[in-house]
Symmetry: C2
Subunit: 205 residues, 2 copies
């Protein structure tokens, strides 16, 4: 990895940390991009070369999560019931979070806290999650040999799986102190889901 890329990565993280701290201190909407840029000594124009928008900073973790979860899904055997594959993939994503460095963990918790306390951001976060959902639905449909434009089942299966983790993340309103606590919550939601469905409900035909 060259100097250039290392430098870019450093700037990206500097922006990220500065922005998150500013958001938490004085609120998301009242913090301007210019302020963020100023606090890391770059121009506002450059900010938008690292993050496509102001909200992209807060939803940044989605990018990584989507990558991890889709890869994990790909690794599951094709003949496994799709909902089970999805739950597996989602658990892989969660465990990846657990392996994160302290800095990464801190960032994630800050984003989570921001989203929790800001309905507008919560909405954006869900919308971003649904993007991932659509992509996974295509993959699940392919595995089942169904046309996603005609059959609703694949999309429905993915939607339920994603809704489960979303609820798991959202639900513990009162103070999310640490990563472990949060994962217990999400895992509780996943287990709740596991015993809620009829066997074979997610299979075509």
């Amino acid at each position: 990895m060259g100097l250039r890329e290392r430098k870019k990565e450093k700037t990206r993280l500097a922006i990220l940390d500065a922005a998150l701290d500013l958001f938490l201190e004085q609120g998301y909407e009242t913090t301007t991009v210019e302020q963020i840029a100023g606090s890391v000594e770059i121009s506002a124009r450059t900010f938008f070369r690292y993050f496509t928008s102001k909200e992209h900073v807060v939803l940044w973790f989605h990018d990584h999560s989507e990558e991890v979860v889709t890869e994990a899904l790909q690794r599951r055997p094709e003949d496994e019931p799709p909902f089970q594959s999805l739950l597996h993939a989602l658990r892989v994503m969660l465990s990846e979070f657990n392996d994160a460095t302290p800095e990464e963990t801190e960032r994630f918790l800050k984003m989570q806290r921001l989203i929790e306390n800001n309905p507008a951001l919560a909405g954006k976060s869900v919308a971003r999650g649904v993007e991932t959902e659509r992509r996974m639905a295509v993959e699940v449909a392919r595995r089942q040999g169904l046309d996603p434009a005609v059959h609703q089942l694949p999309h429905l299966v993915v939607a339920y799986a994603m809704a489960t983790v979303r609820v798991g993340f959202e639900c513990p309103r009162p103070k999310v102190t640490g990563m472990g606590e949060m994962f217990e919550r999400v895992d509780a939601a996943l287990m709740l889901a596991e015993r809620s469905f009829r066997p074979g409900w997610d299979l075509a035909g």
Copy 2:
């Protein structure tokens, strides 16, 4: 109803129709608020007194839907299994759409077509739907005597119900010609949901 209110309603609908047609003709993002305002002879400032934002025009139907569905939920007996109550309420909402005037139907289909062909709008629509979801989750939690801040089940039940109709609406990608066709799709999704869960999965304890 006085002249004043009638006039307001007329303006609101004029804005709505003009905006939807412009969006469909030249695209959502390329249409400016000023253009919309101009085509109904009002100032841009006034536009924002009728709709809180440009996207509010496209997501307008959500306001009515939320009202209908929450009222319908309230009418269900408190001891009914919550998921069943939700499906009932959602079906009431759908049937209300069926009773709509031709103009209302046309507007709704336009909005639907816009959302279908614009990922950004689709995201906003989902975000709006989740707002409704949260409110209903509070009500369902109350009915079950659970604290929504602690227990995930109520939120999960509502999330699944809402995800079902969302998938029902989204799924028929290729040409949504009429209202009836759309409702068949959504109803198909609801029936799919009905036979996917274990009996009693949505009950506390």
